[in-house]
Subunit: 458 residues, 2 copies
C-alpha cells in the first residue's frame, strides 16, 4: 500500500482532551440548569432522510446540506438520460436519499410528529449534538460544530417565555458571565410596522435590512430603506421607535401608542408586557437583563411570536444564542397547533468568550495524579502492587510503561502535568520516595503514609 | 408545502432521555476507570477523507462506508465517458471525496501520524463516539452505533497488556458484571501453528475457520479443515491443543513443548507467561479472570501480538469487547514503529446485558422533583417567587405552564415521574400543600419548612 498523507477534510477538527474538557464543562453547567427546570435530553441520529432536510432551510441551506450517496451501485436507480443532460439537481434524488443533520430543530419536529401520542405535553427537551453544514470554512466557522438547543413544545403559555429567560439568565450566571443582555422583540411587531407604513409585501426585505444595524449602522440602514421606496417620514418614524430609550414600560407604551393611532392589534406588545411583569415578580434583578430591541429580526420564516437574542453588553462579536416562539413546528408533518418556543445556546461562541476570560477549568484537574517510576523487571512485584494499592483507594496512578532512564520518565510526568512521582527507596519494598514535580521536593514515606499524603492532597 | 411522513432512515435510532441516561451511566463508569490509569479523551470529526477510509476495512468494509457527495455541482469533475460506462466504482472518486467514520482506529492512526511531534508517548487515549456502517439492519445491529476504544500507542512494553487487562477487570466490576472471562491468545501462536503443519499459506482461512468454533462446534470446524487438506494427524494435534485444560501454566507449557519439538520461536508463549505473572503479582484474583484460548483469532490483518476478548461465562451471545496489540498502526502514513495496543468495549452489547440484569439507574433520579400547580394569573406572584426560591436552593422545580384543571396537571406529574406536587393553601402566600405522588399524602407547610422537607428527601 502506498504511503498516504494523514489529512482531514476542510472545516472539521479533532478535539484533544483539553478541548473536550472545556466543552464538557460548559455542557455540564448548561444541562444542570436545564434539568432543574424539567428539561430532559434527546439525541437523534446524524443521518436523516434527505427528503425531510431539503426545502427547510432555504435555497442556501439546500446547498449546504451534506448528502450521502446511496449504498452499493448508486447508479442503479438512474437513467442514462439523466446524467447526459448533466443536471446535478435532477440527478441528486436518484443517487442520494440521506443527508447529515443540519440543525436540531427539524429532528425535534420529526420526533414530536412521530411520537406525539406517547409524549407528555408540554414536552421539554434539550439536545446537544454536532450538526454539519458545507459552508465555506473560515476563522471560527466550521463544517461540523455543536449546537445546544432547548425547546418547550405544545403550549402557547407565556410562562414558557419566562422560563426560557430564567434559564438563559441562570445559565450565563453559572458560567461566570454577567455582562450580557437579552434583546427581546416580537415577530408580529415587525409585521405590524411594515403593515402600517404600507410595505407589508416587503417584510422579508425590511427584516433582513434592519438586522444589519449592528454591522453597518442606523444611517446606512436608513439609506437602504430610502433607496427601496420607504418614505422619509416613515423612516423617521421607524428610527424614532428603534432609538427610543427609557424603561421597558416607556418603550412598550411608545410602541403601543403608535399601534393604537394606526388601529393595529396591540396584543404582541401586551405579550412582551406580561413576560416582563412575570419576570419582575420573580426578581427585579432578572428583568434588568432584558433590553427591548425593535430592530431584532432573527430570520423570518420560522418565528411567529416573541424572539430573543443574547449579546455581551460591552463587546461586538455576534450573539451568544437566540430563539423564539414558533406556531408551526410540525405542520409539515400534518400535525397542527404544536406551538412552542426554542432557544439555542451558541456554545462555540460561548466557549470562545470563556476561554478568553479564563473561565474554564484547567486540564491539570483531570488525568493521572501519580506516576510510579519503572525500575525494571526486578522491581515489578513492588511497583505493580503499589499501583494496585493506590488505585484501589481512588488515586489515579500510572506506572511508566518502560524501564528507561529516569530523566525520560520524569519528562513524561512533566509533559502530562502529573503532579507527583513515586520512586523506590533503596529497592526496599517498605519505603518510597515521593517527588513533588512543582518544586522537586522529595520525601520518604511508607505505603500507608503515602496514601494518607496523597488522599489529603488530591 | 405538501405533508410529509416523519420518517427516519433505516437502521438508525432516536435516543430518549432514558436511553441517554443508561448510556451516560455506562460511559461515566468506563471513563472513570480509564482516567484513573492516565487515559485522556480524544474526539475526531464524523467526516473523514474517503481516500483514507477506503481499502482499510477489506472489500466488504469499502461497501459499508457511507460516502458523502461532493458539495455543489458534483458532476463538474466527471467526464461523460465515465457516466456512460456506468461503472459506479470508477465514478465514485470523482463525485465523493469524504465519508463517515467507520471505526475509531483509523482516526487514531491519522491523529497520531499528524501530531506525533507534539504528543507525549506512550500516548494513552480513549474515544467514545458513534460510527456509521451501511450494514443490513437487523435486530440489535444498527447503522449508527457507539464505539468505546482505548489505546496505548508508542511502546512494546508488556505492561500495556497488563494495564489493559486491569482496566477491563475494573471496568466490568464497576458495572456490576463479575461473571466474565477474558480469553487470551497471541496472534503469532496461530501463525506458528499453521507453519508447523505446513499450511502457512492458509493462515487467513485457518483463523476464520477456528473463529467459528463457538458457533458451529469443534467437530464441524474439524470437518471443514479436513475438507481443505489439513491432515487427520494435524487436526488431532490442533484439537488436543485447543481442548487442553489445566492451569494457565499447564496450558502454556503444553503449547511451548509442542513449539520446542518443532523448533519454533517460543517468545509469543513467553509473552503470555509474563503478562499472567505480572497480573498474578498484583492480585491472584485478577489472573482468575483470564482464560487462555488458542482458538481466539479476532480478524487477521490487524493484530500482531497478544489478543483478547471478553465474554460472559454462562451465556452465549457474542463478545462484550475485544482488542490486542498491533505493530503497524501508522505505517500507512509513513510513520513506522508505533507499536501499540487497543481494546474496544462493546457498549451496545454491554448496555443490553446491563438492562436485562437491571444494573442501570432509574430515570426517576433525573428530572424535575417538584411540580408547582398553576392556579392562574392571580396566583402568579406567589407561585413564581416560590419556584425561584426552591430553584435557588437546588431543588429541580417546574410550574405547570398552563392554568388547566388540576387533574391534567397531576397527570403530567405522574407521567413525568415527578415525586412531589405543591399547591396553594387557601390562596394564602404563607402556606403550601405538598402532595406526595406515590401515596397521595398531603401536608401543609410554610415556604421554609417546605424547603427543609424537600432538601431532606431529595
Amino acid at each position: 500500500m502506498s504511503i498516504q498523507k494523514p489529512m482531514l477534510p476542510k472545516g472539521v477538527r479533532d478535539f484533544d482532551h483539553q478541548a473536550i474538557l472545556y466543552r464538557s464543562y460548559l455542557i455540564k453547567q448548561c444541562t444542570t440548569v436545564f434539568q432543574k427546570y424539567g428539561f430532559l435530553p434527546l439525541e437523534t441520529p446524524a443521518v436523516e432522510c434527505l427528503a425531510l432536510l431539503q426545502q427547510k432551510y432555504g435555497e442556501e441551506g439546500d446547498q449546504l446540506l451534506f448528502k450521502i450517496l446511496n449504498s452499493g451501485d448508486f447508479l442503479s436507480k438512474t437513467s442514462k438520460g439523466d446524467w447526459l443532460n448533466t443536471d446535478h439537481k435532477k440527478l441528486l434524488p436518484q443517487i442520494a436519499e440521506k443527508g447529515l443533520r443540519y440543525d436540531l430543530t427539524l429532528p425535534l419536529a420529526r420526533y414530536v410528529a412521530t411520537h406525539h401520542h406517547q409524549l407528555t405535553f408540554p414536552f421539554k427537551r434539550y439536545q446537544i449534538q454536532p450538526v454539519w453544514r458545507a459552508d465555506r470554512p473560515q476563522k471560527g466557522r466550521y463544517r461540523e460544530f455543536y449546537q445546544c438547543d432547548m425547546d418547550i413544545v405544545g403550549t402557547k403559555s407565556l410562562l414558557c417565555e419566562v422560563e426560557i429567560l430564567l434559564i438563559i439568565i441562570h445559565t450565563f450566571e453559572s458560567l461566570g458571565i454577567q455582562d450580557f443582555k437579552i434583546q427581546l422583540n416580537h415577530r408580529k411587531i415587525l409585521t405590524t410596522l411594515v403593515k402600517i407604513i404600507e410595505h407589508a409585501d416587503k417584510e422579508v426585505f425590511f427584516c433582513a435590512t434592519i438586522d444589519k444595524i449592528d454591522k453597518i449602522g442606523m444611517d446606512n440602514v436608513c439609506k437602504i430603506l430610502s433607496n427601496n421606496h420607504f418614505s422619509t417620514t416613515d423612516i423617521q418614524v421607524l428610527k424614532n421607535l428603534f432609538q427610543y430609550t427609557g424603561t421597558h414600560t416607556d418603550q412598550l407604551d411608545y410602541c403601543q401608542q403608535y399601534f393604537i393611532e394606526n388601529q393595529q392589534d396591540i396584543r404582541p406588545i401586551q405579550d412582551l408586557q406580561k413576560i416582563l411583569q412575570h419576570l419582575e415578580m420573580i426578581n427585579p434583578r432578572y428583568s434588568a437583563y432584558i433590553a427591548i430591541d425593535y430592530t431584532l429580526a432573527r430570520g423570518l420564516s420560522y418565528y411567529t411570536g416573541p424572539i430573543m437574542e443574547v449579546v455581551l453588553t460591552g463587546e461586538q462579536g455576534g450573539s451568544l444564542g437566540g430563539g423564539g416562539r414558533y406556531d408551526h413546528l410540525t405542520e409539515n408533518f400534518g400535525l397542527k397547533d404544536t406551538s412552542g418556543i426554542g432557544f439555542s445556546f451558541g456554545i462555540e461562541r460561548i466557549l470562545h468568550v470563556m476561554e478568553a476570560r479564563k473561565l474554564l477549568p484547567k486540564a491539570t484537574q483531570q488525568g493521572t495524579q501519580v506516576l510510579v517510576i519503572n525500575d525494571g523487571l526486578k522491581a515489578y512485584p513492588i511497583i505493580l502492587s503499589l499501583m494496585d494499592f493506590l488505585s484501589h483507594h481512588a488515586v489515579a496512578v500510572e506506572i511508566y510503561l518502560e524501564a528507561v532512564r529516569l530523566k525520560k520518565q520524569l519528562n513524561y510526568a512533566h509533559k502530562k502535568n502529573i503532579p507527583y512521582v513515586i520512586m523506590l527507596h533503596d529497592q526496599s519494598p517498605l519505603f518510597f520516595v515521593l517527588k513533588e514535580m512543582k518544586n522537586g521536593q522529595q520525601t520518604v514515606y511508607t505505603k500507608e503514609d503515602l496514601l494518607h499524603f496523597l488522599c489529603a492532597k488530591i
